[in-house]
């Protein structure tokens, strides 16, 4: 359900124009990997605020738990042990929705209003409109949305759209003990990141950088990466994420062609109707086939 319908700027599978009387500032969450200690407090805060709980699982030979994003865990910590020119590094990344400016999930979604984008940049799922087709999962370049087997709806981080709507920071930001997660206008977050990059470069991370990938129009969740030249070191963070060609094509370039084709078909049908007239059924064709119900 839209808590802020006034602020919706894009709506899946919808052609009517968005409301236009109000514009909000672009917001962003910045995750500074160089300050993150992988304490999982953000995972707890996320579950607490959203009242979701995964089942108690198992240890799988790593510290990650739950092992993957689920319909109940909208953020998880990913731990990577990597040997770099600095020796062993333990890279810890908080994974979750990146809130792309150009969201592949929204583009892919065929259910009207199941995915919306607010003018502040948040991409939100409105599960009551979700038809469970899973196209958003295909459409996401970061492999984030998760389909619940229980209710056939797809779930992911909302960037605490409900908290943000009333002027609060997301729950994970509020709880982060080391200040590794910060939140504010996208502009300020970029400034904050630049300050951090100065410090990281002084410490010898020559390739430190901000992860705000162009391929998805930039994101409203960004990372400060000590090794920005190789994002995939961080548990497979895409080096150059972009919306899948076929999703982009199908919902992009193909869509006007499709519409045009649809129009053509309708026109042809109309032409057929006025030139040939309607089909009329005769009784013989209405009879049930004799072998109906029998084995072929």
């Amino acid at each position: 359900m839209a808590l802020q319908s006034l602020d919706i700027i894009r709506r899946s599978a919808t052609t009517t124009p968005p409301p236009g009387v109000r514009q909000t500032e672009k917001l962003a969450k910045l995750i500074d990997i160089s300050k993150c200690i992988g304490c999982k407090a953000c995972q707890v805060a996320c579950m607490e605020w959203n009242d979701t709980r995964d089942a108690i699982g198992h240890n799988h030979g790593v510290l990650d738990d739950p092992m993957d994003l689920t319909e109940n865990s909208w953020t998880v910590m990913r731990y990577s042990e990597v040997e770099t020119d600095r020796g062993l590094e333990w890279l810890i990344r908080k994974d979750g929705c990146m809130h792309c400016a150009d969201p592949g999930c929204l583009k892919a979604c065929p259910a009207p209003g199941a995915i919306v984008q607010y003018s502040n940049g948040i991409v939100d799922f409105h599960e009551e409109n979700c038809i469970g087709c899973g196209y958003c999962i295909t459409g996401c370049p970061f492999n984030i949305p998760r389909l619940s087997k229980k209710d056939s709806k797809v779930y992911k981080c909302t960037l605490c759209a409900d908290r943000v709507a009333v002027g609060l920071e997301p729950a994970c930001v509020k709880t982060c003990p080391t200040g590794a997660i910060v939140f504010g206008t996208k502009e300020k977050m970029i400034q904050h990141a630049e300050e951090r990059l100065v410090d990281l470069k002084e410490r010898g991370y020559a390739h430190a950088g901000l992860y705000n990938p162009k391929g998805v129009g930039g994101t409203h969740v960004m990372y400060v990466l000590p090794h920005a030249d190789a994002p995939s070191l961080y548990h497979g963070l895409p080096d150059e994420p972009k919306i899948d060609f076929w999703v982009a094509f199908w919902k992009g370039a193909a869509k006007p062609i499709g519409n045009w084709l649809l129009g053509l078909v309708a026109f042809a049908a109309f032409l057929h109707y006025i030139t040939v007239g309607p089909n009329e059924a005769d009784e013989a064709n209405d009879k049930e086939p004799e072998h109906a119900g029998g084995k072929p």
Binding site: K35, H58, G61, E81, L88, G179
Partner: protein, 806 residues
């Protein structure tokens, strides 16, 4: 902490060693990230494992568990041999120039005075040479070969980088890099801070590890400085408070000490503790011991404590020995102790060698457990298969469980690591019949008193005469208890200089411990906490974070003991003339008339620098001790001793004295130590950030984050043993076994030690047979029953195990 959490942001170099602050203290760790982000601090982690702290460190140095003294001894040697010490500070503010008495010796791993039969030292030779004037002799040139500096140099000259590397397994270059970074703080305006926790305390030489760090800090001139100090990160929200109020069995509140059984004479008891200055013009603040002691006895016994009965001195227990937890469970195992009250404590998980504990508790007549949770201890008699394989039919112990409230279900104060007493308020009513601990203890006390009244007893006086004037006797309010420990005037207190002037009216709450008297006119439940609740109100509830100096010295936020002081020994942050060593970090300074500044001066406020009083006012000699005199059980200089279970079966420094010669070992436990032949791997226990001790396995969120018991091993050991990540493995020591999932990691590397390769096995605690996380084994099934020679804190951090795929 000598300093406090916020002060970490002022450091230039931060060392986490003997702890894992990011993992175990994530909230306080924000000050490390702050120091890095805004003070360009360099952050070093020294640990057997590449920890969560190491993941954000500038430099990580591996070392073998239990070898921290070798490492830090090597640092001392480096600082002395490279002349990287703060000379003026060392000369004036430490005992470097003091002459040590002739009898003191060290050789072959032993100090003078050792008695092998009792495993103790006669410490009388660990002393200063005293001149005819009664003062300790010093040599200002520090050239005398018997002066502390020279003895120190000679003692640590053996700790060369090669020796350090050979013992610790730290690559020599890495060790030297650490030394270089540490040495950058020997200049007056740079500081290093040490952050440690149980990774130092839980060794048979734990206290000496901490002392070695303190010595490094004295040599660098970093004690008393903003961003300096030796900082203990406490493991429970109020364990500092518990310590302050007398945690150890031989302590009274405020670090006053219980008399020993030979101390039957009250005056001698006080005189032994009210130490006279050992140098001219020194404060020797413990001279006030009598004031603190008498005020405590007045708080306990009120009008019954009089000068005539030596303030009820005869009612105090006189110890024949220290009753630490190891001693208590030893007595229990011997059947000599048959009732046990266990409050907020889960010894079955928290004391070593579970098998011994089960045996001991099975012999009790009764066990009372006061706890909010159904602990393993309270269920020790239940059979839980392999996890707790006991036969309930054979255990006759009566177990009484008294449910208590959690901190959030009551008002009260918590004392944090930085010595801040912070008041908190009840957030929710307790469930069921749970009661605050104070109510439970009050109930037991009132019942006992009734029984003594009715039936008498061998020694009823201390019970019958205890002051118990709470508004609701069976429910003392936290506010009442707080005012009791703050203290009050029992009569009008007049100015000693002008008896017509009344400073405090009878009944008024005191402003601080400076007002305490030894004539019975004041009462105070804990002198260090005096000032926490004054006539102005509850100082602990203050929440003004105004910080004019920018140093985090928020004097109107809560109350810090002692006297609201934020950095201990802060007089040492100034030179001899009273000017701050670092003009940019002015904690205190002499303004020409008095000591003043951003912090409460830790000094006599009107003592001009020219008077020559030294900064360490609690010490009779006024200076920091590089040479510890007779204060430590195993010697005045820390020496590297191997863990009692050592993977190298020798001590490369002195093969004939391998482990701490003064550590107390009970005979049966000696037999339960394993050797490296049968148990080749160095094991260490620790916490993970997702859990808090044995509590959070009872909560859903923490159990989701870390659901199942695991152990951590390096890839190399895993390969050797054919263990893959996620396999179930069996880990066993001479005392028992556990089974857990294997986490195989690059973060635990094999170390080259004394010509062999040492592998570590990391064993997180947290799991047990109660709670909602997956059942697991109590990690203390494996750990050895031996403790630090001074505190008896068990050696949980270094022992031996074997491992195989289950």
């Amino acid at each position: 902490m000598t300093n406090h959490w916020v002060d970490i942001k002022n450091a230039n170099v931060i060392i986490v060693m003997g702890g894992n602050a990011a993992e175990a203290h994530p909230c306080g760790f924000k000050w490390v990230t702050e120091a890095k982000a805004h003070n360009q601090a360099k952050f070093i982690v020294i640990d057997p494992r590449f920890t969560r702290s190491a993941s954000v460190a500038d430099l990580y140095a591996p070392l073998r568990t239990g070898t921290d003294i070798a490492f830090l001894g090597g640092v001392i040697n480096y600082l002395l041999s490279h002349d990287k010490i703060q000379h003026e500070y060392v000369k004036a503010y430490t005992n470097a120039s003091f002459i040590v008495a002739d009898g003191y010796k060290f050789g072959e791993g032993l100090f003078s005075g050792y008695d092998e039969a009792t495993r103790t030292y006669d410490r009388s030779s660990w002393a200063y040479e005293i001149g005819p004037d009664g003062y300790a002799k010093i040599d200002e040139t520090m050239q005398n070969r018997r002066c502390v500096l020279q003895l120190l140099k000679s003692h640590y000259s053996r700790y060369t980088p090669e020796t350090v590397s050979g013992i610790c397994g730290t690559p020599k270059e890495t060790f030297l890099k650490v030394c270089e970074l540490i040495a950058t703080t020997s200049v007056p305006n740079r500081t290093l801070t040490f952050m440690y926790a149980l990774g130092w305390t839980q060794h048979s030489v734990g206290s000496q590890m901490i002392r070695t760090a303190a010595m490094v800090q004295l040599l660098l001139g970093n004690v008393g400085m903003a961003g300096g100090g030796v900082n203990a990160l406490r493991g429970h929200s109020n364990i500092q408070g518990l310590t302050d109020l007398g945690l150890l069995s031989d302590l009274l509140p405020g670090y006053l000490t219980l008399p020993r059984e030979n101390e039957t004479d009250y005056q001698a008891y006080i005189a032994k503790r009210a130490l006279k200055p050992l140098r001219p013009g020194q404060m020797s603040y413990w001279q006030n011991y009598g004031k603190f002691h008498v005020s405590l006895m007045k708080a306990w016994y009120g009008a019954n404590a009089t000068t005539g009965n030596n303030w009820c001195y005869d009612w105090l227990p006189k110890l024949d020995k220290v009753y630490d937890v190891l001693q208590v469970f030893e007595l229990m195992a011997q059947g000599k102790l048959n009732g046990y009250v266990c409050q907020g404590f889960n010894p079955l998980g928290s004391i070593p060698n579970k098998a011994k504990l089960i045996k001991a508790m099975s012999q009790l007549k009764y066990l009372v457990v006061i706890d909010p949770l159904a602990t393993e201890t309270s269920c020790f008699w239940e059979n839980h298969g392999d996890y707790n394989d006991v036969d309930p039919a054979k255990i006759a112990t009566e177990v009484i469980r008294l449910p208590s409230t959690c901190f959030a279900e009551e008002n009260g104060s918590l004392t944090n690591s930085g010595r801040w007493l912070q008041w908190h308020y009840k957030g929710a009513p307790p469930p069921g019949d749970a009661k605050p601990d104070a109510d439970i203890i009050a109930g037991i006390f009132l019942k006992l008193r009734e029984l003594y009244r009715k039936e008498g007893g061998a020694f009823p006086d201390p019970i019958l005469n205890l002051t118990w004037d709470y508004a609701i006797p069976h429910a003392p309010a936290p506010e009442e208890l707080a005012r009791e420990y703050n203290g009050k005037a029992l009569a009008d207190l007049t100015d000693p200089k002008d008896p017509t002037k009344v400073l405090m009216k009878r009944g008024q709450l005191l402003d601080g411990f400076a007002q305490l008297r030894d004539d019975g006119s004041t009462s105070c439940g804990c002198w260090l906490y005096s000032g926490a609740w004054t006539e102005k109100g509850n100082m602990m509830a203050r929440r003004d974070n105004y910080d004019p100096s920018g140093l985090g010295s928020t004097l109107n936020w809560a109350f810090a003991w002692p006297a609201n002081r934020r950095v201990l020994y802060n007089r040492a942050s100034c030179d001899l003339q009273g000017r701050p060593w670092d003009p940019n970090r002015k904690l205190v300074y002499w303004d020409g008339i008095k000591w003043t500044g951003a912090d409460v001066p830790d000094f006599k406020p009107d003592s001009a620098p020219a008077e020559g009083m030294s900064p360490f006012i609690m010490q009779p000699e006024g200076v920091g001790r590089l040479f510890a005199l007779d204060k430590m059980a195993e010697g005045p200089f820390p020496e590297h001793y191997e863990p009692f279970e050592t993977p190298i079966a020798t001590n490369p420094l002195h093969p004939r004295v391998i482990s701490n010669p003064a550590a107390r070992v009970f005979r049966d436990d000696l037999a339960a130590f394993g050797t490296s032949k049968e148990y080749p791997y160095a094991a260490t226990t620790y916490r993970v950030t997702e859990h808090f001790h044995f509590w959070t396995k009872h909560t859903l969120l923490s159990s989701i984050l870390q659901p199942e018991q695991f152990v951590e091993i390096g890839e190399e050991l895993a390969k050797e043993k054919g263990i893959r990540a996620g396999d179930l493995v069996k880990v066993w020591s001479k005392r028992g076994f556990i089974k857990a999932k294997a986490v195989v990691t690059k973060r635990i590397k094999p170390l080259k030690v004394n010509g062999t390769t040492v592998y570590h096995v990391g064993i997180p605690i947290h799991w047990g047979f109660k709670g909602i996380a997956r059942d697991g084994y109590l990690a203390n099934t494996l750990t050895p029953f031996v403790g630090d020679a001074n505190t008896q804190t068990p050696e949980f951090k270094s022992f031996l195990v074997n491992i195989e795929k289950a």
